[in-house]
């Protein structure tokens, strides 16, 4: 059984590349039993979305015609 530390690294990596079948299985098994790492995975997915949204936010708020606060 892989540790939370190892699984967190694999989760992070899985956001960018395909993991091997073995790695995917190890992550899945771990996540089924560990709510901390399940939370972590959801948060990593959220960070990806937040990054893209931040760029949109920056674009929207920096346009001349937009109201600057």
């Amino acid at each position: 059984m892989r540790s939370c530390r190892e699984v967190s690294e694999l989760v992070s990596k899985s956001l960018d590349v395909h993991l091997s079948l073995r790695e995917r299985m190890a992550v899945r098994l771990h996540l089924m039993m560990c709510r901390h790492c399940s939370n972590f995975k959801k948060q990593m997915l959220f960070l990806c979305r937040a990054g893209a949204s931040y760029v949109e936010y920056l674009e929207k708020t920096s346009r001349k015609e937009s109201v600057k606060r």
Binding site: S3, R5, E6, S12, H36, Q43, Y54, L58
Partner: protein
């Protein structure tokens, strides 16, 4: 080189410029200048990735020109503080590799994306990452460059790239939990 091959790099160039200039109108201007300069020089680039590297090279000069004109040379990535790149995992996990302070449940994180105050915190957390981590994270998640391009840009081996990106995510996660999501739960907006 056709106009189409150039134009498909526009979104990435725009996001890159936007992050440096923090002004969408100016960012559009420098991207346009960059594409025009590229058309005029008409170097024959067969490979798409090397074309983009070349375009970003031109864009960097245009951004620097723009910042000089504005007389506000802001560096997006400050040089690292001593020890800032240290192994954050040592603080996050115990010897067995279990979480010291386990990630909590973030309730309705998507609601945060609508809130001005959240973005201020997000920005603060992002800017307080060690410089190398901030650079890699932003080039990957915000600009959308490919890992190989970022390795070249930040002068990193592929192993170091992964470690750096992972540490950036860990820090950003911890910062958002400490300054936003961990607090929101009790207040429940």
């Amino acid at each position: 080189m056709t106009d189409d091959t150039l134009i498909q790099h526009r979104p990435i160039l725009f996001r890159y410029a936007l992050l440096h200039l923090r002004d969408a109108d100016l960012a559009e201007d420098v991207v346009q200048e960059t594409l025009l300069a590229a058309l005029q020089s008409d170097a024959g680039f067969a490979e798409r990735s090397s074309l983009r590297t070349w375009l970003i090279g031109i864009l960097k000069h245009k951004i620097a020109d723009q910042q000089r004109r504005d007389a506000r040379e802001t560096r997006l990535f400050e040089p690292d503080r001593v020890g800032a790149d240290e192994d954050i995992e040592e603080h996050l996990f115990n010897a067995e590799g279990s979480w010291h302070s386990p990630p909590k449940v973030w309730s309705h994180p998507e609601n945060a994306l609508e809130q001005e105050e959240f973005w201020r915190i997000y920005e603060w957390c992002q800017q307080n990452l060690p410089a190398r981590q901030a650079e890699v994270f932003m080039l990957r998640e915000l600009v959308g460059l490919e890992p190989e391009e970022i390795c070249k840009e930040a002068n990193l081996s592929s192993t170091n790239y992964w470690v750096t990106l992972h540490r950036a995510r860990m820090r950003l996660r911890a910062c958002l939990e400490a300054r936003w999501f961990g607090i929101q739960q009790t207040g429940d907006k």
